[in-house]
């Protein structure tokens, strides 16, 4: 017993010493919190590819070295709040970048906003991330826009008259997006009964046969699957095809992961989803350079999340430059004034909420590859 206690104490003091040694003067600390484990790990890892590239290209600002500190938020809310508090108080970050997953970004932005440290979200699309928080920003569009984009695409491009929505009742992302899609779809078709079916499942479910059999029995034109996890979406589509659904499947930005195609296989071919960026349809000079550099470093095409991570980090560095100081308040003010910043995901202007107003991209899956379909301007 004593030995165990001693071990714990030694371990503790050891680790404390470790963390105290770190941190030299004159550095500008930019904190990053992303899910490196847990259900959102894939998204966090993709985002970090972009953030790391951005950091490599800009290791200094205002003549001072940047120190980038990454903290894992484990795809969990309590952990996300702790992670941001740690970045601010312990690592003395002057600005924070992150995170994939609105569920984690919301508690994170609460903490950052309260501490008066600007936070730049990479890809959290829930409106509540920035709402009423002067210190919270994001580099991506928000769910109401994303839901409307997909409803628009379904009605105008696919001539859909009816839709079924299969949602994850335990995911805030899915329930939010499902709601925005339904609202927009009903408005566009002018028919309050155009959503012929809404059915739920729970995070963790793997058998969706009952849900897709229900969807198939309604014979809709499109099936909207706003899954919080791309694996669930892939399995739903796969089982949907097995149960004879011929309608087109539509989804949101979580679909964009290589595993989505690996798990879904042939079944996901011909599905459409909205996302933030596509390497074959770049709109800015910065994007061309980014794609080239990214392919050189990682030997693959950049994902939307990598692009957003890259943009989020650079937006912060750009704001520090324009502010001319590493004072959090000055950085916040500079961020709020961001206008027509040439990012790799398009021209970025931050509105009064701190949300980016910019294009959405619609992609499909063809021959086991994501393929660009259209760019949708903000309405």
């Amino acid at each position: 017993m004593k030995r165990l206690g001693l071990m714990v104490v030694i371990l503790l003091s050891f680790l404390l010493m470790f963390s105290l040694v770190a941190g030299a003067a004159e550095e500008i600390v930019i904190g990053v919190y992303e899910p490196m484990t847990g259900p959102y790990a894939a998204g966090g890892q993709m985002t970090m590819e972009g953030v790391n590239l951005a950091f490599e290209q800009q290791p200094t600002v205002l003549g001072r070295p940047i120190k980038m500190v990454l903290v894992d938020n484990k795809s969990e809310k309590v952990e996300a709040a702790n992670a941001v508090a740690r970045l601010i108080e312990f690592e003395k970050a002057v600005a924070i970048v992150g995170t994939y997953g609105s569920a984690c970004a919301i508690p994170g932005s609460e903490v950052a906003n309260k501490a008066g440290i600007p936070m730049m979200g990479c890809s959290p699309t829930n409106p509540l991330v920035t709402l009423g928080k002067p210190y919270a920003f994001r580099a991506c569009f928000i769910d109401p826009f994303q839901g409307a984009v997909m409803a628009n695409f379904a009605v105008n491009n696919l001539n859909a008259k009816t839709a079924v929505v299969i949602q994850d009742i335990a995911s805030d992302y899915a329930v939010g997006l499902s709601n925005f899609f339904r609202e927009a779809f009903i408005k566009l078709t002018g028919n309050p009964k155009s959503i012929v079916g809404l059915i739920s499942y729970q995070t963790g479910d793997q058998d969706f046969t009952a849900q897709v059999t229900y969807a198939a029995s309604k014979n809709p034109d499109v099936v909207f699957v706003p899954a919080g996890s791309y694996g669930d979406a892939a399995l739903i589509i796969k089982q949907g095809k097995e149960m004879g659904i011929t309608a087109k499947f539509l989804g949101g930005d979580t679909w964009e992961a290589p595993e989505f195609i690996e798990v879904g296989g042939e079944a996901v071919e011909g599905g459409y989803f909205s996302t933030h960026f596509d390497a074959t349809a770049v709109t800015t000079k910065a994007a061309e350079k980014f794609c080239k550099d990214f392919e050189e470093k990682y030997k693959k095409a950049p994902s939307a999340f990598a692009a957003l991570g890259f943009d989020a980090f650079n937006l912060v560095v750009d704001a520090i430059k324009r502010a001319g100081s590493a004072d959090p308040k000055a950085i916040r003010d500079a961020l709020a004034e961001t206008k027509d910043y040439e990012g790799v995901t398009g021209m970025i202007t931050l509105d009064y909420n701190g949300d980016a107003t910019k294009d959405a991209i619609i992609k499909t899956i063809e021959n086991g590859q994501f393929k660009y379909v259209a760019t949708v301007r903000p309405f």
């Binding site: 894992d72 309590v78 601010i88 569920a103 508690p107 609460e110 335990a170």
Partner: protein, 353 residues
């Protein structure tokens, strides 16, 4: 002897005063990160001690703590949030009427949270506590899952999976440590009373206890309800500390963390739970460095995500397998204990020489 009792009382009062002084200094001077961890320490102590009352002292293995925490967190949040904040949060499905306009001070919301949670504890405990050990574990687990599923679906009350965001952060060291001290004091007195002896007798042998005239049902439900009460308050404090809650925060994993604290500390030892509760909150943060890349005598070790929880799991297994009793077994630390320990060892030394 009477003289000594007075001394101990003085010592106890002095200890509490020192803690109060510490809280006073900490709340004013420490940075928010440290305060945050200290708050978590307090909350884990509340949760651990309340679970230990059920699992350790009464011997009823409950896996439903997260369910009670969820109830406490939601009840209190719905009561102390301002109507404007509720409107912002419930932007998809509006909140049903009486709840949408109510706002009461934090302290009352805490008490009501605890009472509602205790009430639910009674409703669950009364029929279920008839069941044997592991069946009770399953039923209570089922209960906490039902709560989670209900909270996901009842969007006009709980806002579903979107949860409640931007909660005002009332939790500070006064609240978390104050209630932790109260919980420890209350449960310690409960255990040392005739009730406590009845509870322990149920743990050791419920048939014998019943034969001795202990009302099994009454005592089991009592410990369950008291445990649920403090779990509800702990959940409420956690919600206000994290400033955002949703049903998935209170999954089995949450219960599991509390169980680790109780088992490692020793089933049946308040002291153990307090020590491990504090250690757990601190270690969770300190062990973060395990996951970040570090150089170790010139050797570069890449960061391994998930390493922290693996270390916890291994520590737990070591404790379970090699120290069946946990850190403290069922011993308690107190000034009296320390005094007798010191005097006795002195005596022994004298005798030895």
């Amino acid at each position: 002897m009477i003289e000594k009792k007075k001394d101990f009382l003085l010592l106890k009062i002095a200890t509490i005063l020192i803690i109060i002084l510490f809280i006073f200094v900490a709340q004013r001077n420490f940075d928010t990160y440290v305060i945050r961890i200290l708050n978590l320490c307090g909350i884990y102590v509340i949760l651990g001690v309340s679970l230990n009352l059920i699992n350790g002292f009464t011997g009823q293995f409950s896996l439903g703590h997260a369910g009670f925490m969820a109830i406490g967190a939601y009840v209190s949040a719905l009561l102390y949030m301002s109507p404007e904040l509720k409107e912002v949060n419930y932007f998809i499905t509006p909140l049903i009427w009486p709840l949408s306009v109510i706002q009461i001070p934090f302290v009352f919301s805490l008490i009501i949270a605890g009472l509602v949670s205790a009430g639910v504890g009674f409703l669950v405990g009364a029929p279920c506590l008839r069941l044997r050990g592991d069946y009770l574990a399953i039923v209570t687990f089922g209960f906490s899952e039902i709560i989670r599923v209900l909270f996901c679906n009842l969007q006009n009350i709980t806002n579903g999976p979107l949860g409640l965001k931007g909660l005002p952060s009332y939790t500070n060291l006064w609240w978390s440590w104050g209630i932790a001290i109260f919980a420890v004091w209350f449960i310690k007195n409960l255990i040392n009373s005739s009730y406590g002896r009845a509870l322990k007798s149920i743990r050791e042998d419920d048939i014998a206890a019943e034969a001795m005239g202990v009302n099994l049902f009454y005592h089991k439900v009592l410990s369950f309800v008291v445990g649920a009460f403090f779990a509800g308050i702990g959940g409420a404090l956690l919600g206000s500390l994290v400033m955002t809650i949703d049903p998935n925060t209170f999954s089995f994993f949450m219960t599991f963390q509390i169980i680790i604290i109780v088992i490692v500390g020793g089933l049946g030892s308040i002291t153990g739970t307090v020590i491990v509760g504090v250690l757990f909150a601190v270690l969770m943060e300190v062990l973060r460095s395990v996951e970040s890349p570090m150089s170790f005598f010139g050797l570069n070790i890449p960061g391994i995500p998930g390493m922290r929880m693996l270390i916890f799991a291994i520590l737990l297994m070591i404790v379970v397998l090699f120290f069946h009793q946990g850190l403290m077994g069922n011993r308690e630390w107190s000034w009296e204990w320390l005094y007798y320990k010191l005097t006795r060892s002195k005596k022994e030394i004298k005798e030895g020489s």
